[in-house]
Amino acid sequence: MSEIEKSATSTLISAQQSLPLGFVRGEPIFEQPEDLYIPPEALELMLDLFSGPMDLLLYLIRRQKMDILDLPILRITEQYMTYVDMMRELKLELAAEYLLMAAMLAEIKSRMLLPQTPDDDDDESDPRAELVRRLQEYEIVREGAQQLDQQPQQERDYFIANAETDARELAGQAPPDVSLAELGLALAKVMQLVDAQAHHQIKREHLSTRERMSSILSQLESYGQLQFQQLFVLQEGRAGVIVSFLAILELNKEGLIVLTQAENFSQLYVRKASEKDFDVYQRGG
């Protein structure tokens, strides 16, 4: 901004009607345009409110209560330029898009000032037409944005209300997605089970529960009391462990052994039921 224009801005503050307020682009300014003067600090704040040149232009038109369709291009251009000059002084990097609009306004203005030849009337439309259309379009968008802003917004105006439920636990966990590789592994396990099953059937006699019950009882006969895990022969594998467990359950059910535990989660002990235990069992049953 040149020195002359700076003085023009400062002269605007002490508005005097008799003398020119200042000179903008060599033209003397006598009248402060309506609603135009804004202190630079305020303008800086306002700049953030304008989202771009279209917004500023629309603001100028609306503040002057002018019809977009009857766009007085000269006045708007002048006002617009005054703003842009102030902006350039305050926030130079903002100016590019605003300058583009300034150039467009100047172009329209110059075309408007050219004498209209009769030929132009039909062939060439109003040079303002495209700008007017863009302004109308932009106005719809700006209005839409304002309506959007007025809508109740999550976290700003309302919060989602939820209630706790334990229904999910009743429903059980949803199975996770399965990959093809995992499907293959699952199949391999089934095949292993088939093998184990075949094996198990062959050895059924060997791992009979009744037989295991007897062997456990004889162990207890010899050792009196044993820790729970001492009753299992790990070398027999899964099937053997299960058979032993079933045997213990069966023995317990029949009241032939007694399971004891000092406290929760502590070591389980197994011993043979005595006469006394048997009486309790019988009465209790």
């Binding site: 033209e27 003397p28 409110l49 304008f50 989202s51 771009g52 040149p53 279209m54 917004d55 369709l69 009857d70 766009l71 007085p72 291009i73 000269l74 006045r75 898009e97 583009l100 203005k109 408007m112 000032l113 209209q116 009337d121 039909d122 439309s125 109003d126 037409a129 495209e130 007017v132 259309r133 863009r134 109308q136 379009e137 932009y138 719809i140 968008v141 700006r142 209005e143 839409g144 944005a145 304002q146 309506q147 959007l148 802003d149 809508q151 109740p152 917004q153 999550q154 976290e155 700003r156 105006d157 309302y158 919060f159 989602i160 209300a161 939820n162 209630a163 706790e164 439920t165 229904a167």
Partner: protein, 204 residues
């Protein structure tokens, strides 16, 4: 059979317990699957529930993806004090970009810039996509194949909308260039402003 009261309780509980808004179809296919009920009946119950809640701090609202319970908007200014962080405030530029995408979708970045008269900031587009309000739905088959943006249902939900037509401004048609007939009508207007401009120019 299920009594009216049980039905109301069940629907209320289902909407409260769901993490997302619930549609009538979801209710019918889910919690109400074992009862032979029809859509009008469920809608009726939902209306009754809305009525029940009208004096409460919580309200039952319908948004784009279904029904949900939420706190009353009037309570928002007081409720935000429950959390130290402030609610996000969206800039005019972001809201305009969002409104424009909602209005003209599917729309390219270039088209957004043409209407707004400013370049669209990458940050704004990133924010809109991160929030799940805007997504790329395709590419325009022109040189450069620019991405076509559209708004999502999450956007409608966030702004308490059931559809974009809830925003009256965005139901308007795109203004057309002034047509020849209109130009003839405006010819007088045009001359008027020219004279007026010329006068002002002379005065200056």
């Amino acid at each position: 059979m299920i009594s009216d009261q049980q039905l109301k309780q069940l629907i209320e509980a289902a909407i409260f317990a769901a993490e997302q808004p619930v549609t009538v179809e979801q209710l019918l296919g889910g919690v109400l699957a074992n009862f032979s009920l029809n859509r009008p009946r469920v809608r009726q119950v939902l209306e009754a529930l809305q009525h029940d809640y009208q004096d409460r701090g919580i309200e039952l609202v319908e948004v784009a993806t279904g029904y949900r319970f939420q706190t009353r908007p009037e309570l928002g200014p007081a409720l935000v004090h429950m959390w130290p962080e402030r609610a996000p405030r969206y800039s005019a530029a972001l809201l305009e970009t969002l409104a424009l995408i909602a209005w003209r979708q599917p729309v390219t970045r270039g088209e957004i810039e043409a209407v707004r008269g400013v370049s669209v900031s990458t940050q704004i587009m990133k924010t809109l996509q991160e929030r799940g309000w805007v997504k790329v739905v395709g590419h325009k088959e022109v040189p450069g194949r620019p991405a076509l943006y559209a708004t999502t249902k999450a956007f409608l939900d966030y702004f308490s909308l059931t559809s974009i037509s809830d925003l009256p401004a965005l139901t308007q048609e795109r203004p057309a260039l002034v047509e020849l007939d209109a130009v003839n009508e405006q010819a007088d207007l045009l001359t008027d402003t020219r004279e007026r401009d010329a006068e002002e120019e002379n005065e200056a």
